[in-house]
Symmetry: C2
Subunit: 303 residues, 2 copies
């Protein structure tokens, strides 16, 4: 599970910093989360293959989270994309994109599906044989969702020495990896746990941006492996949180601690701050395992 | 009259090249022409003051010419802009921008005026005491205009030695500069040409992108000082011009020659070409004074 930060700064794109966008690679799927202006250039700079992105999740309709989407969708067309593209985001996103495609007389040459979100309850919005994606309703100035990405349980690992000792044929291996016991030709039942090791635990990643401090998300992200939580402000600007509906580093760390997260990645830094060291400093007073996002940074989340 | 090229490449933004946007500084006005994705970052990189831009001209609704507009309009808001902003562009541009402002619940704190264009005839769309802007109807896959920026005639220059010799008082200077003769106290009439020198001729700049080869624009841009004309292709790709409705470097040079332009700037290069030298080479076979646009290049057009 790799996470590439394409942009992690609030508000406006600048010469050296980019608005929110990130790519989660999980179980050989590549998910794009948010798509601020310039995301397609950031994808190029980070050498991520456009064609591997089939699912885009947009948290909310503030510009620093979606103004790059129409450009990316258009570029997919120019690159002669054929794969279906699925966009998940707040109601209205379809109208915004289709209006621009219509007026530029540039319909896509691939199927473009919109999954518009309106619920204020968590819901599974994507599921295949390897991954589920669940919304995390957030509290912000407009309708906003975070997203919880969860691997499905892995196959059990074959204890190949034992399996061969019993002379079990290869065609049964998948059945054993799926957790079944095996009945040998002589009638003996060999319990699955004798033939397999525990698989690596399925991993999970929660993206929570933008939001004010909100304990209502705790049951959804409980025990998450990695939590990306916005921390627009330091404590010195805590008074701005209520009006802008954003979070401080310390508040984000409090959420991570209460959710029993294993790791906290801070991002969505206000561009008012010269450097981001203080965010880690403040968060670490509450929660131990804090790292800072930065544009171009890749987190190998399995390690 | 300065022209700063923020972007001059066709189709998609890339790591090192930007889609169309340029800033024309003329008679202390600053006009933004087209606004591809990433234009606001290019403005920052080129240290152009956001607050001096009050008029934005959009040629057509293909993404590489306007996807950066909504981001720039939003950033103006975040920067607490108060000045009115005027946007000139094809019908539909207002709907695109307002829909996004509405859905992000982010109305601007400044007055935003849209001047939607629908005419297929040239028309004056901006005029003040120093400059006029006239549309240049172009032929492209969607409704497209170029723009002709013309300085108004300058004041005549005082021949200060002669003026003083006649003992003319300062309060008459502006009248003289405006071209009037002067009647002295003794009744003698001094003709204006005895009191003044010819002023520098008013300059003009024509922006023509995107378009196929189109001689219908010649009367509008006749004798223009500087012509920026798209040259998406080299002659090797001339066969693509009809379908895509673009121009080769040689065709652009032919337009410049026929219009009796003084200088030709080529731009809107297809990203298929490794470098742009060949564009100049091909154009120069037809027209002498050819220069190539490049992102970040500043042309001092008075010189």
């Amino acid at each position: 599970m790799n996470l590439t930060i394409l942009g992690c700064y609030a508000a406006t794109p600048r010469s050296m910093t980019n608005p929110t966008a990130q790519v989660l690679e999980i179980k050989n799927r590549m998910f794009l989360i948010d798509c601020g202006e310039g995301t397609q250039v950031q994808l190029r700079k980070n050498k991520l293959r456009f064609s591997k992105i089939n699912h885009i999740f947009i948290s909310h309709l503030h510009g620093d989270h979606f103004f790059g989407l129409i450009g990316l969708i258009s570029t997919f067309s120019l690159l002669n994309r054929h794969n279906d593209l699925h966009v998940y985001g707040p109601k209205g996103i379809k109208e915004i994109i289709l209006l621009q495609l219509k007026l530029s007389n540039s319909w896509t040459g691939y199927n473009l599906y919109f999954h518009e979100l309106t619920s204020n309850e968590p819901e599974i919005i994507f599921e295949d044989d390897r991954v589920t994606v669940t919304t995390i309703p957030l509290q912000h100035r407009v309708y906003t969702n975070g997203f919880l990405f969860k691997e499905k349980p892995n196959d059990r690992k074959l204890n190949i020495d034992v399996v061969r000792e019993y002379g079990i044929e290869t065609c049964y291996y998948q059945k054993i990896k799926s957790g079944y016991d095996i009945i040998l030709d002589d009638g003996r039942t060999i319990p699955n746990e004798a033939l397999t090791f525990d698989p690596p635990a399925p991993k999970s990643y929660a993206f929570c941006s933008d939001t004010m401090y909100n304990e209502a998300i705790l049951p959804i992200i409980n025990n998450v492996d990695v939590l990306y939580h916005e921390s627009t402000f330091l404590e010195t600007e805590a008074h701005l949180c209520e009006r802008t509906m954003h979070t401080t580093a310390k508040q984000a760390a409090t959420i991570a601690k209460q959710a029993n997260a294993k790791k906290l990645i801070l991002g969505h830094f206000s561009t008012r701050y010269g450097n981001t060291d203080k965010f880690k400093e403040e968060a670490t007073t509450i929660f131990n395992n804090v790292v800072l996002a930065d544009d171009g940074k890749v987190f190998e989340l399995d390690k």
